[in-house]
Each structure stands twice: as structure tokens, then as C-alpha cells.
């Protein structure tokens, strides 16, 4: 095989591999991109009940309640303009607190309650998830929590 042919083959195989990867990426993006919404943005949004989304904000003070089974929690996530009720069965992360930033991933139920499959609290409590900070800024309730935290 001549050098020129070898290079051509290399380019063809490389392009094919990249093409396959691009195809995989595009098809995976279709279903697996998880969008983030603040409680305010969530209002009036028609969401497919199968669509996984993330919501975030602060855990509203005094909103955390536990059901009798001891492992199902209900709390409200707020961007200080609107609050969204979240239902979660599982153990809350160590850094979960009322008044602190939180991100929940899951699906919107038809009754308007957000069913979380995963609840993330920031590992370092000085810092708020970026999405949460931006959501607060958007709702005009930003009081420099992060700066104060540091």
C-alpha cells in the first residue's frame, strides 16, 4: 500500500469514526439533555411528564416535612419569588438545609408537584450551585449570598 493510500485510508476511517460518534451524540442529546429551570420559569410551562429536568433554588424555611414512612420528604424550593413543591423519597444529602441552595433532578407530575429522583446539595456549604445563584439573580432576589458566604 502506498503512503498516499495509507493516509487516505486513515482519513476515511477517522472520518467514519467521527461520523459515528457525531451520530451517537446527536441521538443521545435528543433524549438526555436535562434542562434546568427556576421555580418562576417553571410556572405555566407545559412539560412532558416523562421529561427529566432539574430545578433549583433555596429550600424554603420551614417547608421541610416528612411523611410517616420516614423516608419520603416534601419541601419547597424557592427563588424568593415563586416556590415549587418537591416530593422526594430517599435520604437527603448531608448538606441539605432549610435556607440553603439545592438542586433537584426529576420529573414534573401532572398534579404540579415535582417528583425528585435526586437531590443535590452543594458539598461545600459556602458556595451555592451556580444555577441557583443565577436563578436568584434572575428573580431579582440576589443579595450576594455567595459573597457573604465567602
Amino acid at each position: 500500500m502506498k503512503r498516499k493510500h495509507k493516509r487516505l485510508l486513515f482519513v476515511v476511517v477517522g472520518m467514519a469514526a467521527l461520523g459515528i460518534a457525531a451520530g451517537l451524540i446527536v441521538s443521545a442529546f435528543d433524549e438526555n439533555l436535562v434542562f434546568f429551570f427556576s421555580p418562576t420559569e417553571l410556572q405555566g410551562k407545559a412539560l412532558n411528564p416523562d421529561q427529566r429536568i432539574r430545578i433549583g433554588g433555596l429550600v424554603e424555611e420551614g417547608s421541610l416535612a416528612k411523611e410517616t414512612d420516614g423516608v419520603t420528604f416534601r419541601f419547597r424550593v424557592t427563588d424568593l419569588t415563586t416556590a415549587q413543591t418537591v416530593n422526594y423519597k430517599g435520604l437527603l444529602p448531608d448538606l441539605f438545609r432549610e435556607g440553603q441552595g439545592v438542586v433537584a433532578e426529576g420529573k414534573m407530575r401532572t398534579d404540579g408537584v415535582f417528583e425528585a429522583e435526586e437531590v443535590l446539595a452543594k458539598h461545600d456549604e459556602n458556595y451555592m450551585p451556580r444555577e441557583v445563584a443565577d436563578a436568584l439573580k434572575k428573580s431579582g432576589q440576589w443579595k450576594g449570598q455567595i459573597e457573604a458566604g465567602q
Binding site: 500500500m1 503512503r3 495509507k6 485510508l9 486513515f10 476511517v13 477517522g14 469514526a17 467521527l18 459515528i20 460518534a21 451517537l24 451524540i25 441521538s27 443521545a28 442529546f29 433524549e31 438526555n32 439533555l33 436535562v34 434542562f35 434546568f36 429551570f37 432539574r54 416528612k66 410517616t68 414512612d69 420516614g70 423516608v71 423519597k89 430517599g90 435520604l91 437527603l92 448531608d94 448538606l95 438542586v103 433532578e105 458539598h123 461545600d124 456549604e125 459556602n126 458556595y127 450551585p129 451556580r130 444555577e131 443565577d134 465567602q150
Partner: protein, 666 residues
Amino acid sequence: MSAELGNYALILALVMAIAQGILPLVGAARRNDNLMALAAPTVIGQFVFISMAFACLMYAYVVSDFSVMNVAANSHSDKPLLYKFTAVWGNHEGSMVLWVWILSVYGLAVAAFGRNLPPALKARALSIQGLISVGFLLFSIGTSNPFERLDPAPINGNDLNPLLQDPGLAFHPPLLYFGYVGLSMPFSFAIAALIEGRVDPAWARWVRPWTLVSWMALTAGITLGSWWAYYELGWGGFWFWDPVENASFMPWLMATALLHSALVAEKRDALKSWTVLLAILAFSLSLLGTFLVRSGVLTSVHSFASDPARGAYILGFLIFVGGGSLALYAWRAPSLKAGGTFKPISREGALLFNNLLLVVGCATVFVGELYPIVLDAINGAKVSVGPPFYEKTFVPLMAPLLLVAAAGPMLAWKRADWPGVVQRLRLAFVALAAVIALVYALHGGPIGPAIGLGIAAWLFTGAAVEFADRIKLFRAPMRESLTRLAGLPRSAFGTTLAHMGMAVLVVGSVAGTAWRTETIAVMRPGDQAELAGYTVILNTIGESKGPNYTAQIAEMRLERDGELRDLMYPEKRFYPVQGTQTTEAAIRTTWFADFYIALGDPDEASGGIGVRLYHNPFVPWIWIGASMLVLGGGFSLSDRRLRVGAPARRRVAKTQAVSASESSNA
């Protein structure tokens, strides 16, 4: 006083780095031996000064000098001594000092072991190292000075994030940095080679051990991080496709590719400009990882304090280094002479295929990693890309890679007899089919995990057969096999072990992801819960007190068929200084599974405590497989051919000199 001394030492190190970055480079261009010879002393000076700075910072931590802002923010006088040491790199500023220190260690290693390197190549490579060092020292001194003072000094410190108060912190970041920073070596050699316009097998022989060292460190560092997250976060998972995990995974994929392509460059004098490109990409990705983690653009477990100035600096540095070196590559690479040719079906062909898939796989991770950031920058939409994305893009691309990995070592260089190879792989075909059929029969369900395990069986069998063939096991008298075994180069052991380790790791991650089961319950003493055929009974809940925390400890009986298997003690710790809790999971490891218990919060209503149980099949195989990878790398590294490659060249030079003097005599 120690802080000022440390600061001063850092500045002196910067001066040394500037000298190292400029003078030998100029010397190499002007063929001035004196200037080139300055590389070694500046490297040593830099190492000494950074070590001094590092020691000063460590001292400030050990004596709890809270007038140093960094210590006040990350330490506490009650903290155990071990964590006073490790807290030095448990924060952004201190970890940068560790970073430049490791960079200086690598420079020192080149100066020490590089006696046989061509002087110009050595001078240039060390200069590039010096320039990288300048970049990071400026970053450290300018934007993240660890020695900044605090006035008035607080009575006590803020303490270290309790999650980081774990022996894992002693090893995970340093190993990871040894890997990240180690990739600067192939990079520096690549740039030096581009400047010289020459890449020869000797160059590849020099680059390979450094790549191997950093690859081993990166492998060990990533694995330790994964293990640490596994037992410390209490989520029962080992890999989350978290952006920060990906940030370290991309350079690993590139380093793996580089390792294999350097082999072709060394043995066959081919794929040279490709190898140079990989070296550039690998280090650029390790810089990108640093940028992503430290700029605060990611929401992740790790993000350090976000400071736009830091992000902007590293981004600028990344663009300068990555863009500059790629431009240099575009300009100079065409002048690299192409070497040996080969047929598509050959060892070179297989290694090229490996490279292609690793690079494309890395590209999919890159897209998943950066797409949310780019989208946010363009229209403010916030998205995240989770495990399902990677399972549908990266994972399928790895299947053909692992298939070819079994065949690769069996193929001859240049042109291979592929029917012969297919025949040698017949046992592997049997293993592949048998495992897929067996797993599917036992578990049913989606075929994906069955295929994954089948491929792992194929790779393991293929590697074993290849090794057995090499020593003619069962086909020659045992004595001959043993002699052959003793005569095998260590790198052959390395390849076999690493490929087998990869197979073991695949089993662990596929089975651990697919068949994990979990349950959550609120338990009071005497209550029991069932999972995966086991019964867990909560005996007692007790309190205990550590040096800087209080803990709740549960005693759990793990039973199977009414028989006691183990007593397990999961803990929930409370660190009053930061007001945070951590979960210390109890894990019972057997050969085939981990049984994992994590405690949640107490439930006041029932007087019980939340408990999360996981049964993680084959997860221990991940750690075993990764250890085999590192061990395999170690074997290859200790191969004589790598170690004495360069002296052999010198001998040639000497004989040439002798013959030259003889001819002049004649």
C-alpha cells in the same frame, strides 16, 4: 515569619523558572553550550525554592498559624495532625503550590536521568518546562497567593471541609497532579522536537517512560478519587460522569492513546507527527481540566472557590499553550519525515485503531462536558448532561476498542497474517459467546450488560492466550515454558497485565452499574430490612466522640439464611466547627460484591434512623482491575529496554568516535 519566607521562596522560584524558560532555549538555538548547561542549575534552584515554599506553608499549617489567611480558612487547631498536613493541598491556593512543586520534581528528574539525551533536545525540553512553570508560578503568586496574611488573626480557624478529612485526601490529589503535571513532559519533548523538526525512535523511547509514569499516576489518582467518593459520599456509586471526573478522564484517555502511539513511533518509526499531536492534546486537556475545576464554571463536587480572575488567567494560559503549540504543530509537523509503512491489518494498524477510538471517545466526553457551558454562554439556557448521555455515546465506542485490544498484541508488525490471528482467538470467541449466553440466560433483560461482560471475557481470554502462546504453555515441555517465561521482556508482562486489568475493570463497572440494588428504610433497634438475599438487623445506635467531631454509630447485623455474616458499623459524623455532617458508610467487601450501608438522618417521629442499603455486585473488581492497570504500567516501566535505551545509543556514539579516530589515524 514562615509565610514571608515562603512567599519570598516562591518569587525566587519564579526568577529561576524565567531563567530556565529562556536561557537554555536561546542556547540551543545559538548552539551555545554554556547557556544550554544553565538548564540543570536553574531546575535544581527552582526545585529547592518551591520545596522551601511548600515546607513553609506546611509549617504554617502544622503550628496552626491563623494569621495566614489560607490556614485560617482551611484548618483548625483541634484537627488531627494528618489532616493538618493534607489540608495544605485541600484548597485551591495550597494545591497550586503542590502543582508547581510536582512540575519541578519532573524537571529535576529530566536533569538527573537525562544525561544521555541529546543536549539540545534536553535544553529545549527543560526550557519548555520552565515556561510552563512560569505560567503557574505567576498564577499562584498573582491570583492565589497561599501566604497572604490576615490581620487581625482569628483565634481559631474555619476548619477543613469535613468531607476532605479523610486519608483519601493524602493520596488522591497528589497522585492526580503527578499525572496531570507528568503530561507536561511528553508535551515539552513534543514542542522541543517540533522546534528541532526531528522525531526519531530515540525521542519516542524518551517520551514513553514519562507518559507511562504520568498515565500510572493518573490511573491511580482517578481510581482513588472514585473509591473515595464511593465510600465517603454515601451514594453507593463509583462514577457519576461528574464534570470534574470527566476533566480528569479526558487527559487519561489521551495519555492512554499516547502510550500506544509512542510504541509505534519507537518500534516502527511511524505515526510520529500523530504522536506529537497527541502529546500536545493530552497536556492541553489536562490544562483544560485545571481551568474547568478552578474557574467555577462547573457545578460540581470539587469546584474550588470561584474567582473570575483565576478563571480568566487559566483560560488565557490554556489558549496560549494549546493554541500556540497547535500553531507550531501546523507549521512544523509537515517537516517531520514519515517513517515505516504498514498494512491496515498489522500491529501498527491495531494501535492506530486504538488511538482513533480513544480520541473519538474523548471527543464525545468533551462534547458532553462543554456543551452545557457553551449553551449557557450563548443563550443562558441551563442544561446538564448526565450518565445516560455517556452511556449512549462513549460506552458503545469502547466496545470495538476492547475487541481489538485482544487481537492487537497477536498481530505482527507491518503486515499480519489475520487468518492465523482469528484462529488464535478461537478460545476468546468461545468465551465471548458463552458469557453473553450465560449472562442473558441468568439475568435476561437488556442485552447491554451481557455484551459488556462478554467483551470483558473476550479481552481477558485473548490476553491470556497471547501470553500463553509467547511462552508456549502446554505446547512445549514445562521446562521450556519456564525458561521462556523468565526470558520475556517485562513490557510483555505489562501489556498482558494491563489488558487483563482492563477486562476486570469492565466487569466491575458494567455489572456494578447494571445490577446494583438498593433500598431505603427507617429502622429502630430490632428492625430488619432485606436486600439481595441478605437480612440486615439494626442492633443498637450509639454515640461516639472523635477529636473534632461527634458521631452516631449504628451496629448492624448482616445475615444470610439466618446465619451471621458480619457486624457492620456505619457512622454519621457531625463537625461542629463547620456545622456539617458526613456519612461514613460501612462496606463489607467480598470477591463478588460489596454490601454497603449508609446512615441518614434520625427520624424523630418514630425514634428510628434513616438507612440506605446497597448491594453492588462486582464493584471490588473495579479497584482490582485498576490496580492491575497500574501494576502493568509498572512492569513496562521497569523494562530494561526502556531504562537502558539511551546508554545503548551512547555506546554507538563512542564506537563511531573510535572508528572516526581510527579512520583519521589511517
